[in-house]
């Protein structure tokens, strides 16, 4: 008992530093949501009454879920291929997955603009091949935003799923095959269930990231897709409605913590965030 106390005492300086330099300022900012314009829950009342805030939240959730779903599908396929590839090939695959992570989010958003706009490569290609007559609206809408966000999130989806797929004992798959299961059955009854913890972990990670996207929707949305982060910025910097901005920020933080709390019962979050190899 005494020895335990000693360990905790060693942790104390770090804990205090985090509290004073990190948690306290955040709480101070979030507290503005109940002190401005007057003391009370007036700002939170807007959650129920203001259609604008509700729409921003719905848009954020919709785009977040859509992005998560698509990124998981693509990521799963990629992770599956990588997990089953030969070690030498695996390295190349991984490099391919990680490379986009080192390119600025701004550059990637503008690259998508170049590809998807009315006279962009995709539309021109489709028109030249005679598949379409008029350019398709591929950007300046939610479609463009989701494309940009999925592109950003796929590596984050691949890595946790790959980690969990690598832990699957390949002898189990061989045994299932040996006992007469078809390839489909092996995947559906053995591989998929065993890889599920990775899928959930990746889903949580991607969804939480997606809620806070700022640059990608601002550039690819054509001004018509307003997500939570941009709305908060608008309230704080331009409209000087700090109470409202802090309110949505608080809601966002609460939503993220709630997501983590729920899924921490399903997956090992410490592993997700790299605390354990």
């Amino acid at each position: 008992m005494r020895r335990d106390l000693g360990w905790w005492a060693l942790l104390l300086p770090a804990f205090l530093m985090m509290t004073v330099l990190y948690i306290a300022p955040i709480v101070q900012v979030l507290a503005i949501s109940v002190t401005e314009p007057q003391l009370g829950l007036g700002n939170y009342d807007r959650l129920l009454t203001n259609a604008g805030v509700q729409r921003v939240i719905l848009t954020t959730l919709r785009i977040g879920l859509l992005t998560t779903g698509i990124a998981l599908l693509l990521g799963y396929a990629l992770a599956y291929v990588i997990a089953l590839a030969r070690p030498a090939a695996q390295r190349w695959w991984l490099l391919g997955v990680l490379l986009p992570l080192w390119i600025s989010v701004l550059v990637r958003a503008f690259a998508w603009v170049t590809l998807l706009r009315r006279q962009g490569l995709v539309n021109q290609g489709l028109q030249a091949s005679g598949l379409i007559d008029a350019p398709l609206p591929l950007v300046w809408n939610e479609f463009g935003v989701v494309v940009g966000m999925v592109h950003y999130m796929v590596p984050y989806a691949v890595l946790p799923m790959l980690a969990s797929m690598r832990e699957i004992d390949s002898r189990l798959l061989a045994a299932a095959r040996g006992l007469g299961a078809s390839r489909g059955t092996v995947f559906g009854r053995v591989f998929l269930p065993l890889s599920l913890p990775g899928v959930v972990a990746a889903g949580v990670l991607v969804f939480i990231f997606s809620l806070g996207f700022y640059i990608t929707p601002a550039i690819l949305g054509g001004g018509k897709t307003l997500m939570a982060a941009e709305w908060i910025k608008l309230q704080i910097l331009d409209l000087v409605r700090w109470g409202m901005g802090a309110m949505l920020a608080t809601v966002l933080v609460a939503a993220i913590l709630a997501t983590l709390a729920v899924f921490s019962r399903v997956v090992d979050l410490r592993r997700l965030f790299g605390a354990r190899a």
Partner: protein, 368 residues
């Protein structure tokens, strides 16, 4: 969201890099914008007699001291001006003033922000015994909590290759049948709602108060056929690449487009929304009254204002300036009398009362 001032600075550098203007012109123009910066980033007042001007661009200091600082220092011995390019949004000014450590003296802001800040007791009233109201062309350029050494306008631009009969006004802008194609608007209520209101037939002379529900509904009508820009280069891109065929953009960008496309993209002064480039003094500024004198000096000198127009296209606000403008440039000057008379001056008072609400609703409308 980029402000007009930020965009001017960006435009200046772009022109310089393309070799269209020389270094001296660049510096002169930047100085006129107040867009120069102290080496090492954020400027701090080193002595009580330093004045900190805050702008939206991150650039070098020398031009400013040559153009505004030197004459001002010559008049007021020992007073220097230093530049800070943090970007004085209303939110940043508020957090500085409320922290009790104001280090900014004169901030490049806007009419609506000056009123929002002033009413919240975050800005100092302009002392019109120091600043001369007669130094600006109209009452909209000398407000209670800010005054404008330059002006800019939100004008209608269109792709003349697409329309044999050119659009004339905002009613044409909203007429998707006669003028089909994507529209381009700024992601902000100011100027957009004025255009919407005029498109509904309200006479420019009696524009205010705007009918908010009607003009917002009007914006919503063309939402599906519109894209929205947040910064000047973006607005230029949308028009140049043909993503949009008609737009409401800053006249500085319209000028560049007209010149670069050899007149394919044209601008219309008619019903343009003329806006003041308002500077504000944060409450408790370290330089005190000296900031008022600096602002007075910026308003009182027509020559640097014309220099800025030559370089970037920002309109002068000093009544003596228009006559000094070279003939070739007159048609690009938003405050040239023939151009100014067909435009509407934005009503800062109305926006001070309505900006927060109207802009929030505008965002709802366009993201609907």
């Amino acid at each position: 969201m980029q402000t007009f001032q930020q965009d001017c600075v960006e435009l200046a550098w772009q022109q310089y890099r393309r070799g269209k203007v020389g270094r001296r012109t660049l510096m002169a123009g930047l100085a006129a914008l107040g867009a120069t910066v102290m080496p090492g980033g954020q400027a701090e007042a080193q002595a009580a007699r330093d004045l900190v001007m805050v702008n939206w661009g991150g650039l070098a200091n020398e031009g400013f001291s040559r153009f505004y600082g030197a004459p001002f220092t010559a008049e007021h011995a020992g007073v220097k001006t230093v530049q800070d390019s943090t970007g004085p949004s209303a939110g940043r000014i508020r957090s500085m003033v409320e922290s009790g450590r104001t280090t900014w003296d004169l901030c490049d802001s806007s009419a609506s922000s000056s009123i929002v800040l002033g009413r919240a007791n975050l800005a100092t009233k302009i002392d019109y015994s120091i600043v001369n109201r007669a130094d600006v062309i109209g009452p909209g350029f000398a407000l209670e909590w800010g005054a404008a050494p330059y002006s800019f306008s939100s004008v209608l631009v269109y792709d003349s290759a697409k329309f044999p009969t050119p659009p004339q006004n905002w009613a044409d802008f909203w007429d998707l049948r006669r003028f089909p194609g994507t529209r381009l608007l700024r992601k902000d209520a100011v100027a957009v709602l004025e255009a919407a209101q005029m498109s509904l037939g309200r006479a420019p002379a009696s524009l205010y108060p705007l009918d908010l529900p009607a003009s917002l509904k009007r914006v919503g009508e063309i939402r599906r056929n519109s894209v929205y820009w947040a910064n000047g280069s973006e607005s230029e891109q949308f028009m140049r690449t043909g993503e949009a065929v008609m737009g409401q953009i800053w006249h500085t960008r319209a000028k560049v487009l007209e010149q670069e496309t050899n007149g394919r993209i044209k601008a219309v002064w008619n019903q343009g929304i003329l806006q003041p480039g308002i500077f504000v003094i944060p409450r408790g500024n370290p330089g005190g009254e000296m900031a008022q004198r600096l602002l007075a000096s910026m308003l009182a000198r027509p020559e640097p204002q014309v220099g800025l127009l030559e370089f970037l296209g920002n309109g002068p606000t000093n009544p003596k300036a228009a006559a000094l403008v070279p003939a070739a440039l007159k048609r690009f000057n938003p405050t040239d009398p023939p151009n100014a008379t067909v435009q509407v001056v934005v009503n800062g008072e109305w926006w001070g009362d309505n900006y927060q609400n109207a802009n929030a609703e505008m965002m709802d409308t366009i993201s609907g």
